[in-house]
């Protein structure tokens, strides 16, 4: 240090001290904003993902004609407009799916993207609030399929059919959205209300290592009289769960969803696999019968071999326990496959087999059904100040190649929804080996949920009674009777004619095997 800057005894002068202190303070305040690797620490997975994706997508998006059409149109709209901004409303955790191409969009169009995040469970309420207030605060909305009908009837969503015709987002064809599921997640009354950005399908996950173990194979064959392999029917699955359940070793035969708000999926999926419609053509409930009762009784019985007999596991408890290697099987969304393959969360990497959910043999036909009640599509708000510009963003974000980068985010919320995703090398890297083809097959067995007006009411009425039956608070027979009565009330309240029309539409999208036996 130059002593002439300081006092006689080399002491720091006040000005020098203040400058140094300010610099140190500024550095201390800025340090939390720097990535961990700036301190010499290893980059975290999120940063690596984002940097890798950014490098690849810079070249790749230009080869995507769907994306380029949207981009060119957006640039035309944005020309001459200062401070053009889009507000994208997203569930928390999904924004990372958009990060790879946000900068590209902003750079190309000269506009700004603002993301508004809300916790997943509050998205529906926020959407309905927007329907009531009509504030126009959001341009792009994350429409869940369960709420699609309600949001359309509440006049929140813009019919983007004409815009889709103008700019062609390639919803069909080899790069199109997965058929069947596209109809009941994006369309209502024949009109297009959004473009899928995430498709969730309930898949079956099994411990591959345990299935391949010769000792297990021998013991199982001896006990049950048939080979141990991927279960095709529910009876085989339940046999395997009982076989592998080992409470003394702290190993669960399986993990089942028994907590309030999660009970309905498993039962509905198994019920559907018996080839029975949950409503008849006049929207009369069709579940209080021998089949409904048998399914519920089987589900009640098998829970003694699941979750170490606990019925209060949330979905993330099931994910954690399965990935920790504490159970043989679990149903889950594609995220469970990714979670069980991630180095920082899983002890069963490479040991998990994904399979199409098992089904039931009905009149000689194997009917496999997979619940497809979650997921999202991107919609344009009816109150957006820039609806065409917002639509262009949606088309860009869901374009075949651009969206591949979105769904490949290991830490994001979104999963494959275009046919091209299943063979895209960027996407393949994010999923465990062999999972994508199975996911694609599973989507062919997709069964729509309560995509009716008041869908959440139907779902909750079913869930509450199933939950009560699983807890022993209600007898299965009474639970089914109560559900039927509640569903009837809801149908009357929502308007039977409208519900019949929508139900008729949804029946078209059931799997082929189901329709063959259901008639």
């Amino acid at each position: 240090m130059d002593d002439r800057k300081n006092g006689e005894r080399g002491e720091m002068k006040r000005r020098t001290f203040v400058k140094g202190a300010l610099a140190a303070g500024a550095a201390a305040m800025a340090s939390p904003m720097l990535p961990r690797w700036a301190f010499g620490a290893e980059k975290d997975q999120k940063t690596i993902d984002m940097e890798e994706a950014a490098m690849q997508i810079e070249q790749a998006y230009k080869t995507d004609p769907v994306a380029m059409r949207a981009l060119e149109a957006a640039k035309t709209i944005a020309k001459g407009k200062k401070d053009l901004e889009l507000t994208i409303f997203m569930p928390a955790g999904a924004v990372i799916n958009f990060m790879p191409f946000t900068k590209i969009w902003e750079k190309e169009t000269g506009s700004k993207l603002k993301f508004f995040e809300v916790v997943n469970v509050e998205v529906d309420q926020k959407l309905m609030q927007e329907a009531v207030t009509k504030s126009g605060k959001f341009d792009v909305l994350p429409t869940p399929p369960l709420s699609l009908v309600d949001l359309v009837d509440a006049k929140l969503l813009l019919d983007i059919g004409p815009l889709a015709q103008k700019f062609d987002p390639e919803l069909t064809g080899p790069n199109g959205i997965v058929e069947g599921m596209d109809r009941f997640t994006m369309y209502y009354k024949g009109q297009l209300w959004g473009i899928n950005s995430d498709m969730d399908i309930f898949s079956m996950y099994l411990r591959d290592d345990m299935l391949n173990d010769p000792k297990n194979k021998e013991a199982f064959q001896k006990k049950y009289g048939y080979p141990l392999d991927t279960p095709k029917v529910y009876k085989q699955l339940f046999d395997q769960i009982k076989f592998f359940d080992d409470p003394k070793a702290g190993f669960a035969g399986g993990f089942a969803y028994r907590k309030r708000a999660l009970c309905w999926m498993g039962w509905l999926q198994q019920f559907a696999s018996n080839g029975l419609w949950m409503f008849d053509e006049n929207m009369k409930p069709n579940i209080d019968n021998e089949v409904g009762l048998k399914v519920l009784e089987e589900q009640v019985e098998i829970q003694d071999y699941c979750n170490y007999k606990t019925k209060s596991y949330n979905w993330n408890d099931i994910y954690k326990n399965f990935a920790a290697g504490k159970g043989y099987t679990a149903f889950g969304w594609p995220s469970l496959g990714k979670y069980a393959n991630a180095p920082n969360t899983s002890k069963v990497i490479g040991k998990v087999r994904t399979a199409v959910p098992c089904g039931t043999e009905v009149k000689g036909t194997l009917v496999q059904c997979a619940q497809a009640s979650l997921g999202r599509c991107l919609s344009v708000s009816n109150y957006s100040k820039n609806p065409e510009f917002a639509y262009c963003y949606i088309q860009f974000a869901t374009a075949p190649i651009v969206s591949a980068f979105a769904v490949s985010k290991a830490t994001g919320l979104f999963d494959c929804y275009r046919k091209s995703h299943f063979t895209n090398p960027v996407v393949e890297k994010a999923y465990p080996a062999g999972m994508l083809p199975v996911l694609q097959e599973t989507m062919k067995a997709a069964v729509p949920g309560f995509f009716l007006r008041g869908g959440k009411e139907y779902k909750d009425a079913l869930d509450a009674q199933l939950n009560a039956a699983y807890a022993g608070a209600t007898k299965p027979k009474d639970a089914l009777k109560n559900i039927s009565e509640e569903w009837e009330k809801i149908t009357e309240r929502q308007g039977r004619e409208g519900q019949i029309a929508r139900w008729k539409e949804l029946r078209e999208y059931y799997p082929a095997a189901f329709k063959k036996v259901a008639g």
Binding site: V132, D153, K309, S312, D460, Q465, A468, A473, Q494
Partner: protein, 296 residues
């Protein structure tokens, strides 16, 4: 009159008063309107174009919705149990803290700490405590020399226990603080006189302190009762109203029906029914105080 209204003090508080009236009165008017209409956002109409249905919502709630009635019954049960325990525990703690001892101030600070914890955090903590493989069952296993793995949160009756315990743990300190202050207002000379006449501490408490504290106790019951009626966070995190609807309190019911199902006007009507019940209850409880004030 006009001079009074345009006087400086009135003009200075007028903007805030008007704002408060707008924030309270306007929503109340909208709520009353909705309670007598049929309206959900799914109708696609604005709420002021809702169809007038007179008392249909009220009728359906009272005579055709057992879920609503049972949610009120459950809330009253929670109120009864939690209030009783909080009053007794708070009073016992307050009595114990009447004498001076080493570390009293520190102990008071520790005891009132639960009040500072957000109910959501309490819910999450009690969720972990009451899991089948959680610490509560572990302690019971040690005490009973058995493998106790009871699934508290999935039992239709016992699922209430974690909810009530969470509520009691969170708010007993407040009751304790109020009673601790209240006990300092009991006249010393009356106690000394009673002691001089040979009264036992129990007699002094029941015959002198408790009657003097009666108004305070009633006030605590009303204030805490209104808060207990609003219990939501604990129920949401612990059980979501399950199993089935067996722990669904009135606020959980209103959340499910009003926010999840968006039956806005129906819930507006239920809000008025609940308000009426709470007001009637509060007036009944505070009636003795009215007489006391009149006597004074």
């Amino acid at each position: 009159m006009w001079k009074k209204l345009t006087s400086l003090p009135v003009l200075m508080v007028a903007p805030v008063q008007l704002l408060i009236w707008f924030m309270v009165i306007f929503p109340t008017i909208v709520l009353v309107w909705l309670a007598f209409c049929y309206w959900t956002p799914q109708t696609g109409k604005s709420w002021w174009h809702a169809d007038w249905t007179w008392f249909h919502n009220f009728y359906e709630l009272i005579f055709d919705d057992p879920r609503f009635i049972w949610s009120i019954v459950r809330t009253i049960i929670i109120f009864g149990v939690c209030m009783s325990v909080e009053l007794v525990a708070g009073m016992i703690m307050a009595l114990l803290f009447q004498t001076k001892f080493f570390g009293k101030k520190l102990l008071v600070s520790i005891l009132i700490a639960p009040m500072m914890v957000i109910p959501l955090v309490i819910g999450q903590s009690f969720y972990m405590l009451f899991l089948a493989q959680g610490p509560i069952n572990q302690v019971i296993s040690w005490l009973t020399f058995s493998n106790f793995q009871f699934d508290w949160l999935s039992h239709p009756i016992w699922a209430m226990v974690p909810i009530m315990l969470g509520e009691i743990w969170n708010w007993t300190p407040l009751v304790f603080l109020i009673f601790m202050s209240g006990l300092t207002t009991v006249p010393e000379n009356q106690i000394r006189a009673a002691q001089g006449l040979g009264a036992t501490p129990t007699q002094i408490f029941f015959r002198i302190s408790l009657p003097i504290l009666k108004p305070l106790i009633l006030l605590v019951v009303v204030i805490r009762g209104m808060e207990i009626f609003k219990i939501f966070d604990l129920v949401f995190v612990l059980t979501r109203g399950g199993p089935g609807n067996s722990t669904e309190t009135i606020t959980m019911y209103m959340y499910n029906v009003g926010i999840e199902y968006m039956r806005v006007s129906y819930i507006a009507a239920s809000a008025f029914i609940v308000l009426a019940l709470v007001v009637i209850g509060a007036v009944r409880i505070l009636k003795p105080l009215q007489y006391q004030l009149l006597e004074d």
